[in-house]
């Protein structure tokens, strides 16, 4: 067994001696330095798409607009993901510091934490933190008006342009891109949308420096990463691990000894079967969301896939053809094969369909269905048929 998962202690570490000390210290440096530091750190967005954070902030800083927004995407809805909840409960000041630093370097004066409706019970405590931040931001002379925007229950709003649409009072339907939010975001103004963990990580980069941060992770995925671990595991919960471990090592650490498959990256990610555990590396560009669900041999992978597809058919926004109808067809298709109403070869037709969905869907939701679909259908074909 190689590279045992290395636990890291950055994000949950008790670095700050005083609230908002990171912010205060960071604001003593130049904005250019901060952006350079972030770019150098190799930090990528932790929401799923994995865009380099420093570059995003740089582009936003370059936008000429008197109004800019910073939005923290806390619409964590990926099944198997709950790290952002934990961050907002345990280290909200690191998240808010990250947002404040972003506001400072990009010149934004308005900010929102877009909190998923399911987490409404977090609002009170979070609001207290925001109120505390307001006191400190006044002290350091930062003009950044931060508030909570409560979502209303739609997975797709985790997609940043759908999120913006819903904030504008519309259906959460992803926009055509380009333009991107950093050019034309909330109410048409330049907007940085980053995931909760991204902001927390950014504040940590500012705290410990790029050189230290870069020591962790792989060439492609720098730093530490939070993993939401659930399923057939005696150690469910959120763990901060160094990227680059194999699924084998991961399963050995977190599985129950009978692990049959690991779903890496939520339902939008890949299902890794036991035979691939050794060669599959967590952190090779595929898993920035950090959801890992562990299945042992008692689980029916047909049921797992059925559950995912049911989820997709409901949570697709429905606007684009491949995603709206494709999800329904995949679901109906595996049911028909299971019941013997369609031959096993129909699965191949469905695999082609999922590839078409990847190629033609408007947003990441429809594009990513094929990840779990093809990895489960290909690796557990027998279970789909019998």
């Amino acid at each position: 067994m190689t590279n045992k998962p290395k636990k890291v202690d950055i994000i949950f570490s008790p670095y700050s001696v005083a609230p908002y000390k990171i912010l205060k210290d960071t604001m003593k440096r130049t904005k250019e330095e901060i952006i350079a530091e972030l770019i150098s750190s190799g930090l990528r967005g932790r929401g799923g798409a994995g865009f380099p954070t420093g570059m995003k902030w740089k582009f936003a800083a370059e936008q000429k607009s008197s109004v800019k927004y910073v939005i923290c995407n806390a619409d964590e809805g990926e099944p198997g993901t709950f790290k952002d909840r934990k961050l907002l409960v345990e280290v909200p000041r690191k998240v808010i510091s990250g947002m404040a630093i972003c506001a400072w370097v990009t010149g934004a004066t308005e900010g929102f934490i877009y909190l998923r409706r399911e987490y409404k019970y977090l609002v009170n405590e979070l609001q207290k933190e925001i109120d505390l931040f307001k006191v400190h931001s006044k002290e350091v002379g930062l003009n950044f008006n931060l508030q909570i925007f409560l979502g209303a229950g739609a997975y797709v709003c985790g997609e940043e342009t759908a999120l913006l649409e819903s904030m504008e009072g519309k259906r959460g339907e992803p926009r055509n891109k380009p333009p991107y939010p950093i050019q034309d975001g909330f109410l048409g103004k330049p907007t940085v949308v980053n995931n909760v963990e991204t902001f927390a990580s950014a504040s940590m980069v500012c705290r410990i420096g790029a050189t230290e941060y870069k020591k962790f992770g792989t060439a492609d995925q720098r730093g530490s990463k939070l993993f939401s671990i659930s399923g057939d595991s005696p150690k469910e919960g959120v763990f901060e691990l160094e990227l680059g471990m194999s699924v084998e090592a991961f399963a050995a650490e977190f599985g129950d000894g009978d692990t049959k498959a690991v779903q890496v990256g939520g339902v939008a990610g890949f299902c890794v079967p036991r035979k691939d555990f050794a060669k599959a590396i967590i952190g090779d560009g595929n898993t920035t969301g950090g959801s890992t669900m562990i299945f042992n041999s008692s689980r029916s992978m047909y049921k797992v896939l059925h559950n995912y597809l049911d989820f997709y058919a409901e949570e697709s926004c429905g606007q684009c053809t491949p995603c709206r109808i494709g999800c329904q067809q995949l679901l109906k298709g595996i049911e028909a094969v299971k019941k013997g109403e369609k031959p096993a070869e129909y699965l191949d037709q469905l695999l082609k369909l999922s590839e078409s969905m990847r190629l033609t869907s408007k947003c990441g939701l429809g594009q990513s269905v094929t990840n779990s679909f093809s990895s489960i259908v290909t690796n557990f074909r027998e279970e789909m048929i019998y």
């Binding site: 739609a154 797709v156 259906r171 339907e173 055509n176 380009p178 997709y312 058919a313 409901e314 949570e315 697709s316 926004c317 429905g318 606007q319 684009c320 053809t321 491949p322 709206r324 109808i325 494709g326 999800c327 329904q328 067809q329 109906k332 298709g333 028909a336 369609k342 037709q349 082609k352 369909l353 078409s356 990847r358 190629l359 033609t360 869907s361 408007k362 594009q367």
Partner: protein
């Protein structure tokens, strides 16, 4: 140009203006990319995904309608990857669709049908995901039928109702597999804030939205020897009907249309133009009265006065600006004037029992169907207009009747309410009512013809959304001396989004106009919700050109010179706005819910 973009499409270098979509850039070099959700009248949606192309260097395919061309882009519009993906998308749409095309009103004129044939989509690839609930057709509206089982969720109707009409009666509802195009709480179409304009119909690529058809009832009436069935056809019909019958866009088929209708068994084929001319007399008199009240008697009157010919516009203002109905002319639309006179004046002259008359209107319009069924439109003692047919329905009826339309002789409208002028013909185009009104008003006020070459008042013509013009009255006849030196300011709006701009000015008290023409549909009636599909700006312009050509060809081109109009005043109505006119030709409006 400063901001030109250079890209490569299928190996060809293309230079386009910044902001041009890949779709339009390809069009420039004659490459046709299939589309469904795209419509040149509407904002970009990018949701059907049929227009995907390959952008070299990108992992996924790109929606060409929704992606601006960028410098250095290398685009492929046809590759195995694209063909497979498009075919899959077509197959998916078909799997969600009610594929009983044989009985569909839009069969052979359906964009989905044409594309799925082109892509040779095998209906059995995927299982049907058509929802049972979607198969209930909403037939509650007099004007618009909605069949969700034929809907491909392209949202063209939603964007039409929002962008062009600013009504937003249709919306996208629910999500995911349940997502559909619907109304407020899925209420039937007759219970919502809908103007019945039918623009959603002409923008629908399939048979999901259609006009409520009445031709079976009309055939039944024609077949009934007891009934005297008459039809009047609107000016916009004669310049568009040809499109249904194999003629190029912009062909005038007036004479053949009359022949066809006669051969089909209509007892009398008459011209809505007659009541259009009558409208000018009534509405012109009303306007002059209001101006006199304002200028001479200093009475508070509702100015600007606004035209009332367009029933989509009428329902719009009743819903949206119920406090400002006083600005409307009290004149009924030409269709309804015609209906009221058909069962009174016409019946008397012909000696026919009005209860035996079935009065049909051939219209470019969906809203006319609702208008005909307004409870207040029974001034003849009967339902004044028994049925409104769209240009499309007329086209199908002519086809059904087995006539070889193109070989028909040309005939002219029957007498009594069949005489028309060029002024009435141009009612079909945006600005036409205004031009007709100005031709007559100027003559009545000054005793001279409008000071425009060949009577063509060019400033009120064209497809610009809102047009404004003014005309100064000098050397007025003694009766109109109060208008001496007055510069009459007029405006023309078409499409209800433009109408809203005009109305908002009135609400704000900043409207500088005396008289305003509003038509619900872009381009006026030639672009009506009952016209042949498709309708685009290029097509609108060709129909408009045909309308003005028809006008130029008329021996009489001013409403007050229509001999039948003179006759009806002499024999029956006496004077414009007289008691009989008031009873038969004018109406009242009602407040409706705005939300």
């Amino acid at each position: 140009m400063a901001n030109n973009i250079k890209l490569t499409i299928d190996g060809h270098q293309v230079t386009v203006e910044q902001g041009t979509s890949i779709l339009d850039a390809a069009k420039k070099i004659n490459i046709k990319i299939p589309t469904l959700c795209h419509h040149e009248d509407l904002c970009v949606a990018g949701n059907c995904r049929i227009c995907v192309v390959e952008q070299v260097g990108k992992q996924t395919l790109t929606a060409s309608c929704a992606t601006p061309a960028d410098n250095g882009m290398v685009i492929l519009t046809s590759s195995p990857k694209i063909r497979r993906a498009r075919k899959d998308i077509m197959a998916l749409l078909v799997s969600e669709h009610n594929t009983q095309c044989t009985t569909c009103y839009r069969s052979t004129n359906c964009e989905l049908q044409i594309l799925s044939a082109e892509y040779n989509v095998d209906n059995s690839i995927y299982m049907s995901v058509l929802k049972e609930n979607d198969c209930k057709i909403d037939k509650a509206s007099w004007s618009v039928e909605k069949d969700n089982s034929k809907c491909i969720r392209c949202q063209r109707c939603v964007r039409t109702c929002a962008d062009i009409q600013h009504v937003n009666a249709l919306a996208v509802t629910e999500r995911g597999k349940d997502m559909k195009i619907s109304t407020f709480m899925h209420l039937p179409m007759n219970e919502i804030v809908c103007t019945n304009c039918g623009q959603c119909i002409t923008h629908c690529p399939t048979g999901a939205l259609t006009e409520r058809r009445y031709y079976d009832e009309i055939w039944a009436a024609i077949d009934d020897p007891e009934k005297h069935v008459i039809i009047n056809t609107a000016p916009a019909v004669r310049v568009a009907l040809g499109e249904m019958l194999g003629y190029p866009v912009g062909t005038r088929v007036t004479g053949k249309m009359v022949t066809a209708l006669k051969k089909m068994g209509f007892n009398s084929v008459l011209d809505t133009d007659f009541t259009a001319d009558l409208t000018i007399m009534e509405e012109g008199t009303e306007l002059l009265g209001r101006l006199k009240d304002a200028l001479v008697h200093k009475k508070p009157v509702s100015l600007p006065m606004i035209t009332s010919c367009s029933p989509g516009w009428i329902k719009f203002i009743e819903h949206m600006y119920p406090e400002h109905l006083g600005h409307l002319s009290s004149c009924k639309s030409p269709q309804q004037m015609f209906g009221a006179l058909a069962k009174t004046y016409y019946a008397e002259k012909k000696g026919i029992d009005p209860s035996k008359i079935v009065s049909v209107a051939g219209m470019p319009c969906a809203a006319k169907k609702f208008e005909a069924n307004r409870p207040e439109m029974r001034d003849s003692g009967y339902q004044d207009v028994d049925a409104g047919l769209t240009t499309r329905e007329l086209g199908y009826m002519i086809k059904q009747s087995g006539l070889n339309f193109q070989d028909l002789e040309e005939d002219s409208f029957d007498k009594i309410m069949g005489e028309s002028t060029g002024a009435a013909v141009i009612f079909g185009a945006t600005g036409g009512v205004m031009e007709a009104a100005l031709r007559t008003a100027y003559f009545l006020i000054t005793g001279r013809n409008v000071p425009f070459e060949h009577l063509n008042i060019l400033p009120v013509r064209g497809l610009e959304g809102i047009k404004a013009a003014s005309i100064k009255f000098e050397n007025c006849l003694p009766e109109y001396s109060f208008l001496e030196g007055v510069e009459a300011k007029v405006a023309i709006a078409h499409g209800l989004t433009n109408a809203r701009l005009i109305m908002d000015q009135i609400v704000a008290g900043t409207s500088p106009y005396h008289f305003i023409e509003v038509m619900a549909c872009p381009g006026g009636c030639i672009g009506g919700g009952g016209q042949p599909i498709p309708t685009t700006n290029e097509i609108r312009q060709k129909r408009i050109d045909a309308i003005y050509a028809e006008d130029m060809g008329k021996p009489i081109r001013m409403s007050h010179e229509n001999p039948e109009v003179a006759q009806i005043y002499a024999e029956y109505l006496k004077v414009p706005l007289g008691e009989k006119s008031h009873h038969l030709l004018h109406t009242k409006y009602r407040k409706r819910n705005r939300y």
